[in-house]
Symmetry: C2
Subunit: 253 residues, 2 copies
Amino acid sequence: MAKAISIINNKGGTGKTTTTLNLGAALQKIGKKVLLIDLDSQCNLSNAFNIQNPTEHIGNVMLSKSELSDAIINVNNIDIVPSVTNLLEFEYMINNEPGREYLLKEVLDKNNHYDYVIMDCPPSLGTLAINSLVAADSYIVPMQAENFAFQGLDRILESAEKVQRRMNRNLELAGILMVKFQPRTKFGQAVVKNIAQNHNLDGKLFNGYIRQDISLMEAPAFGQNIFEYAPSSRGATDYLNIAKELILKYGKA
Amino acid sequence: MAKAISIINNKGGTGKTTTTLNLGAALQKIGKKVLLIDLDSQCNLSNAFNIQNPTEHIGNVMLSKSELSDAIINVNNIDIVPSVTNLLEFEYMINNEPGREYLLKEVLDKNNHYDYVIMDCPPSLGTLAINSLVAADSYIVPMQAENFAFQGLDRILESAEKVQRRMNRNLELAGILMVKFQPRTKFGQAVVKNIAQNHNLDGKLFNGYIRQDISLMEAPAFGQNIFEYAPSSRGATDYLNIAKELILKYGKA
Ligand SMILES: Nc1ncnc2c1ncn2[C@@H]1O[C@H](COP(=O)(O)OP(=O)(O)OP(=O)(O)O)[C@@H](O)[C@H]1O
Ligand SMILES: Nc1ncnc2c1ncn2[C@@H]1O[C@H](COP(=O)(O)OP(=O)(O)OP(=O)(O)O)[C@@H](O)[C@H]1O
Ligand SMILES: [Mg+2]
Ligand SMILES: [Mg+2]
């Protein structure tokens, strides 16, 4: 029974793709069967697997023009459904479908043999992001310590709460994940203080966080995840810790 | 006669908002009359001016439910048309308008008393970004030295070329602007090498670039631009240089 997890944040550059890639790789390292889904027309996740211009992709899968199984590519024991650079054209058609928020859920409900399905959202709260929340059991919000990050978080939690109330009763927040975290900087410390004082956030943050680590940026340039590229790096250690924390939360799956 | 400039990059976190804010402030410092437009439902630019929940905003202006002049807020000698957190709902209505890519152009064509109108795009190549390209005289692509940044750039240049060919003959690239640039890092050097070897990029980059500078991140937390917050910082120097370079290119306006 797959645990479907949406990696979501409409703020750009907060480590969604880096998290999808390396959390997925960490879970696979621990022995879980993992499927990754690239929901972003930028295709950063697909490119990290050296996939360019695939004939089958998430766009035509969601519109039932292709089967999920036909779109899946296996790279180093991880399955991925890639995106495509003209995904916006498919998004437009998806928007005009009756029940347009349920298309991804319909696809995933038929495909149950993974332990974890992880969905990389684009920097938006539009149709594709909402589809991932409707299809998900839980969602992770990767966040950088920067201005207005917490105001942005409020909007994401609001959208997720609407989805949970109207379309997906099971949806829950798996956790907020601080990324590129530098505890000794002014912003880092302001964030730690903000979280300690904000009781709405109690229990919502992962215990672990992902530190700033250039290896996380370098790995995809070689078509690798952090465990292949730099297995003893901070990035590898940090993502493995998050994977373990996640499994403790949901681990019966 | 206003020079309208679109600040565009569908990749997240590449300094679009930081550039709109501080390039705008630099031009104003040099004596130009500047209007900023926030096209992003995240409202990072509006928040940098301490504007939250405005009754008039770019969404209802583009749908002709409000006049541009009613939506303009003046803060420290810079005019800004703010965005609103539910801009996606307006975007949906904009998408259903006949001639939907021309709505922003129509608005700006009636309002000619600025030297520069600078438009902050969301991380997308959707309707709002395309509206800004149709309305613009030129566009700037702020880019970070990171994986696949140049592939992403190709897509932006393609979209801009389609807009130029079909909807806006005057559109030109003002320049590619490297931001958060660290010349001594592996990625920084790879970028410099890539640019030197890639003849398609000849003459397309700004001579100047924006260095990594934490002051650029801190300033909006205080509702300030870099010239108010840290006038002798690298960020201030770098953005002023870009403003001067821009004026030399277009300076007759
Ligand atoms: N912990 C980290 N340390 C150093 N660099 C990082 C870290 N996490 C991510 N990065 C880098 O930051 C940039 C943005 O990360 P990423 O692409 O994962 O964010 P994103 O949220 O997916 O962006 P987008 O909103 O465009 O989809 C990338 O260049 C990435 O390599
Ligand atoms: N030169 C710089 N030095 C240091 N930090 C910077 C610099 N430029 C931008 N930043 C920081 O990087 C983050 C992303 O910048 P910004 O919000 O301007 O990008 P953006 O392209 O507008 O993002 P989005 O795609 O979400 O709209 C912000 O926290 C910002 O303060
Ligand atoms: Mg991404
Ligand atoms: Mg922005």
